[in-house]
Symmetry: C2
Subunit: 207 residues, 2 copies
Amino acid sequence: MYIEKKYGCILFSEWSSIKAFGALDPGSNPGGAIMIEVLRLGHRRLRDHRISTHCGLVARAFDASKIIYSGEHDSSLLDSINNVHKKWGGSFSSRYVEKDINFIENYRGVKVHLTMYGLPIQKHIKNIRKHKKILLIVGGEKVPGEVYKLADYNIAVGHQPHSEVAALAIFLHEYFQGKELSKTFPKARLKILPHERGKNVMEVTTK
Amino acid sequence: MYIEKKYGCILFSEWSSIKAFGALDPGSNPGGAIMIEVLRLGHRRLRDHRISTHCGLVARAFDASKIIYSGEHDSSLLDSINNVHKKWGGSFSSRYVEKDINFIENYRGVKVHLTMYGLPIQKHIKNIRKHKKILLIVGGEKVPGEVYKLADYNIAVGHQPHSEVAALAIFLHEYFQGKELSKTFPKARLKILPHERGKNVMEVTTK
């Protein structure tokens, strides 16, 4: 059992002292109902490492099930995501796929492509929410034209240039209607106890 | 007048053909009611360029008024944000401040610090929304302890490691209750006409 004390806050790392952040855990996915897999297109090892990592962490934190990268193979990227998963729990996974167009073509489920050129999320999220198995495609620098054609929905999170990380977060937040913020992560080794003025990180040990 | 044609879509760049995405324009800020300024702490020129750029673009796209960077001075970062602003319109601005702690101390308005260690946004956004002049502080790699003390609110967008870009987007999305996605940007030279399967970018000329 490890207790971190910062900014004058004392912590208790007893399981019994932990209150779940919300009553429901969308991550537990009862009945295997929802599976959102994120496909991050065209990763470039040197230039995209941090943005692609942020995409992976956002996918995990906002209750997607998986992230798949295409572009250049980057084992350190997969390791980064995996290390967070090991420390902070949940059942998220990441992997690489070489032929992304092929992968999209063969995907069994609804394909949603996030693009600033698409239709506004605020008008279409209700329909998309009816689907429970979704491939959520997030572009890189240049998105092949086929992706627009293969997608069942091309969806815009605003029609301004901003960030694939932000678009991904807002899509998942809208899809789960905010419930993802209360998600708990089973088998976490680290847990945060929210605090108004400091850092309370708790290491959890299981017998 | 410039018309771009891609994926078989024909565009018209007449002002009269443009329909506002929503009835209200929160960016127009009637009565000067709302001003959210984003402070991005501890920018590092080489390592953070893209993430800091994404923070700036998200701040602009999600209806903040300004972004202020601290850390290393980086004129190419300010140029990147400024170029987007020139092309895509609105009244967003960006600047650099050397002494960020000093800046926070002297800020007149409510100070909200986004941190995974803070109190859950879903429980506090309603109160924060009552404030109309906000400094929204977004951390870098290491956030000085003083920031937690100087902030009026330390707010978490989930209690998992993910991305300052995502946290910023979700905060603004929650603050504006989604209205920011329908914001229009006055004096835009480029505009997107949403399309279900292609890219429609329109160049707007004014006489």
